[in-house]
Symmetry: C2
Subunit: 254 residues, 2 copies
């Protein structure tokens, strides 16, 4: 099974609130439809998309982060509605191309315990995949014991799904072709954060859901190998190639 | 905690596809808003609504029942979209009255195992309630191992929620004022199916989600007392009264 994240920045125009990057989403959808016609994803595909200009705008307006919440129903519904709108756009493009995509809304299933640990049921996702559909999740609000609702990022969902569903591979389709070194060349392989600390520095959140350093750290903790690549390489990734940067913390530990 | 079911027939016009019974939904929403201003629901409220003319129409068109499924994504999405439309109408009326209602879509969280047993996570519902919101679930499709997607009825959700969340009371707001005897008088109390078999006969499904006999049988199996009443009695029920028919199988067993 493959878990594919479509970065929010890759499919929306982050400079304007609630604005899709239509051509980018069309290209991503074309690549996914082509992959389903081939045999690169014959064990199933789970898609997660980020918030981009749909989620982040409302989250920051209402002061919501992964740890700081709100009990204001307007805050919860503003983020949730905006993310469902983006999810509906993604589903529409996929369904047009005969990808049997169905929505899975995290606010309806996940929650955080006191202290912030995410509880994410995955039995429904596994069953949806086993029955031949392609579940499409997204960054969202989730109820959080003691905090009201907080944000769950697409990256957190990817990590939880990859772990529970024992994903064969994780792909992050981003606005960049991979993790870049100081000369803007793609670093092909990372097995330890030490490899990239001189380039990325310490973890440094650039938005509510974390920057590249945080992404790399989280991906190093996965059992599954993860690949960060740009839109041009999505079809190659889904065909089984490893374009961009492959991050494999588990094999380094072995 | 109170689990309240708004029957699909009570809030939609079942004679016409995808048609709301607007005045009935307004009255139900008024009663719920009034109850939240009082102290009848101070331990929290979970709302579940049925499908009425939104869900059943598409379910029967695609041949979907609780046991017979489909792997056609159009079948899944037709039912799911129609139910989300009805859910959005319900939420809108509640939010207008300052009820902090948020949606919980069963297709996003529940699934059926082979054999049909429903797996319904409830940690998110408990957290949503504990944080002061009112979750609103609905009849829906769910993924079903070996069947594609099948229907989950509002009544099944009510039973699962009442059990897991140890509901203090379960209310079913229906088109009738209670379970009626042969003279159309409301039967006040039922503690065993034997009490009503002469009136209701054997279980006899009148739609994909079961008729009154099936409802009574299911409610007798709950640990929580359940009350069936009409729209006129919703406010009284939420204030702690027991209008209509109270069904209490657990106390009879004690």
């Amino acid at each position: 099974m493959i878990v594919l994240k479509l970065g929010g920045s890759a499919i929306t125009d982050k400079s304007r609130p609630e604005t899709l990057d239509g051509p980018a989403l069309e290209r991503a959808s074309d690549a996914i439809a082509a992959a389903l016609d081939g045999d690169g994803v014959e064990n199933g595909l789970v898609i997660v998309h980020g918030g981009g200009s749909f989620g982040h705008h409302h989250a920051s307006e209402h002061g919501l982060t992964r740890t700081s919440g709100s009990r204001d129903v307007t805050a919860a519904m503003d983020v949730h509605r905006a993310m469902k709108t983006l999810n509906a756009f993604v589903l529409e493009r996929l369904l047009e191309r005969d990808v049997p995509a169905v929505p899975v809304h995290p606010f309806s299933t996940a929650h955080r315990e006191e202290g912030g640990d995410l509880v994410l049921p995955t039995g429904q996702v596994a069953t949806i995949v086993a029955e031949g559909f392609v579940p499409v999740l997204h960054g969202d609000v989730v109820s959080h014991a003691g905090e009201g609702v907080t944000i769950v990022s697409g990256d957190e969902l990817v990590a939880g799904l990859a772990r529970d569903l024992e994903a064969d591979a994780v792909g992050l389709c981003s606005t960049v072709p991979g993790v870049l070194d100081d000369d803007d060349a793609v670093i092909g392989y990372i097995s330890s954060y030490d490899d990239v600390e001189p380039v990325l520095g310490a973890s440094d959140a650039t938005d509510v859901t974390g920057g590249m350093a945080a992404k790399v750290r989280a991906l190093l903790d996965l059992e599954s190998p993860a690949t960060i690549f740009g839109l041009d390489d999505l079809e190659a990734f889904l065909a089984g190639d490893q374009p961009g940067t492959t991050i494999d913390g588990a094999s380094a530990v072995d």
